[in-house]
Amino acid sequence: MWRLGGAAALAHLALLALWVWATTAGDVPRYIVPGPLETCATLASPHYGWLSNIAVTAGQAAAGFALAVLVGTALAVLFTWFAPVRRALMPLLVTLNLVPKVALAPLFIVWFGYGLLPNILITFVIAFFPIVITVARGLAEVEPELLDLVRVQRATRWQVFRKIQLPSALPYLFSGMRVAAVLAIAGTIVGEFIGSEAGLGFLMLSAQATLDTPAMFMALILITLVGIGLYVSVVVLEALTVTVDARLR
């Protein structure tokens, strides 16, 4: 475990070293690849508004992600309760999942204008599918004998759901959430690229207009950190709610 962690840390450091070496030893122009120091120096200039842009991006990503978890779970529950609904809608969802979600972004801007709402919706449609599909699978794959167990006591449908189906689907929900967290941040950034006046994606585009590559690098790093933050929250929440042997990897 320790060795594995050590190797991983070493690989990360190697990447950083490569970056330093490429920008000092080589003859790469600064506007193509800025060095780590220049990149970090951008944090000091107030005119980038890093904090407020981070807040906008993180807020949109978290909101779209939370919406995806809520709606995705609710729909999956509906599917297990009403089989005809599942038979009608599940194939439709699979088809819709094949639509490249980022291609919807320009339409959303036509429909909802610039700003928060379309970005949250793009994040939502991207993050929604893995949630609904994994949770529906988790709810469907409950051991039938576990259901017999409570049916002996004539458990109501709600009791069966609350005490058996939902907890046994929880590891599936988290598995879907881990995938969705990575997708969510990508959705948010696409939204910001296409139509936005704030956020790290917007900042990256405006820095590009003036060939301010250090700021672009910094924005990229911060976007990644926001994504990591979302992912880590999911992992921590899972660690708090799901027993070790029930987790899906």
């Binding site: 017999d148 167990l149 006591q153 027993t243």
Partner: protein
């Protein structure tokens, strides 16, 4: 069979047919026996004889097609008065041992405090004191099955149904569990129906044995077992024990 005016459990000509690929397959046919309150009945037979089907019918999990089935007397409530132990422990892996035991009490909406007390008592009866706060994966197979037995008893059912409860355990653990089951039965005074494919196990456990055959699935025999109580493993070496097992083997055509 015991001729009681008002048996606790009464089956007469109970039959169940499955339909698969348009063909009708008899899961069980013409099962008739009576059980007095407080008896321990062993249903024995090879795979495919319908013994698990019969147990599920008794548990009310599947309907039967014809015949008569009466359980309990007046005021018998199938939801409250039946506890079931399946072949696998079927513990909820997200619940600690004590909370697993409490499941039926929660479903039935029994008062939590008394249910908790009772769950602790049962865990101590099953020699699991100190394990209340562990998760199922921290327990051995035999211990998990003991938790399942405690769970089946937590709501104080009148009838305990067990479907090959020790089938997944190794031979030695299994013998130990048979002794435990005998002890629990003697202490609790419950009526127990246990399904097994072990002929020796059936005779050792049962005060009554019902023999079921496969192909066609039907009831072949039913008889009372009288051996000195409390039964010990050594009783299996007695001639009486041998006669009982031979009777079952003969019925099964072996």
């Amino acid at each position: 069979m015991r001729a009681s005016a008002d048996p606790f459990l009464h089956l007469s000509g109970v039959a169940k047919t499955y339909r698969s690929n348009g063909r009708e397959v008899a899961a069980i046919s013409d099962v008739s026996f009576d059980v007095a309150e407080g008896e321990l009945v062993a249903l024995v037979g090879p795979s495919g004889c319908g013994k698990s089907t019969l147990l599920k019918i008794l548990a009310g999990l599947i309907p039967y097609d014809s015949g008569t089935l009466r359980i309990g007397g007046q005021g018998f409530d199938a939801a409250r008065d039946i506890g079931v132990v399946f072949q696998a422990p079927l513990l909820l892996k997200w619940r600690r041992v004590l909370d697993n035991v409490l499941l039926p009490a929660e479903i039935l909406g029994l008062p939590e405090r008394t249910a908790r007390e009772r769950a602790r008592e049962l865990l101590s009866l099953l020699r699991l004191t100190g394990w209340e706060d562990k998760y199922p994966y921290e327990l051995s197979g035999g211990m998990q099955q003991r938790v399942a037995i405690a769970r089946a008893l937590v709501h104080d059912p009148k009838l305990l149904l067990m479907d090959e409860p020790f089938g997944a355990l190794d031979a030695l653990t299994r013998e130990r569990m048979n002794l435990e089951l005998r002890r629990i039965w003697a202490q609790s005074g419950k009526t127990i129906v246990v399904v097994t494919h072990g002929v020796q196990e059936a005779v050792f456990l049962g005060t009554q044995v019902v023999v079921l055959t496969a192909g066609p699935a039907r009831m072949a025999d039913g008889f009372a077992v009288t051996l000195p109580e409390p039964r010990e493993l050594s009783c299996r070496a007695t001639p009486e024990f041998g006669e009982y097992t031979q009777r079952i083997y003969t019925r099964l055509g072996m």
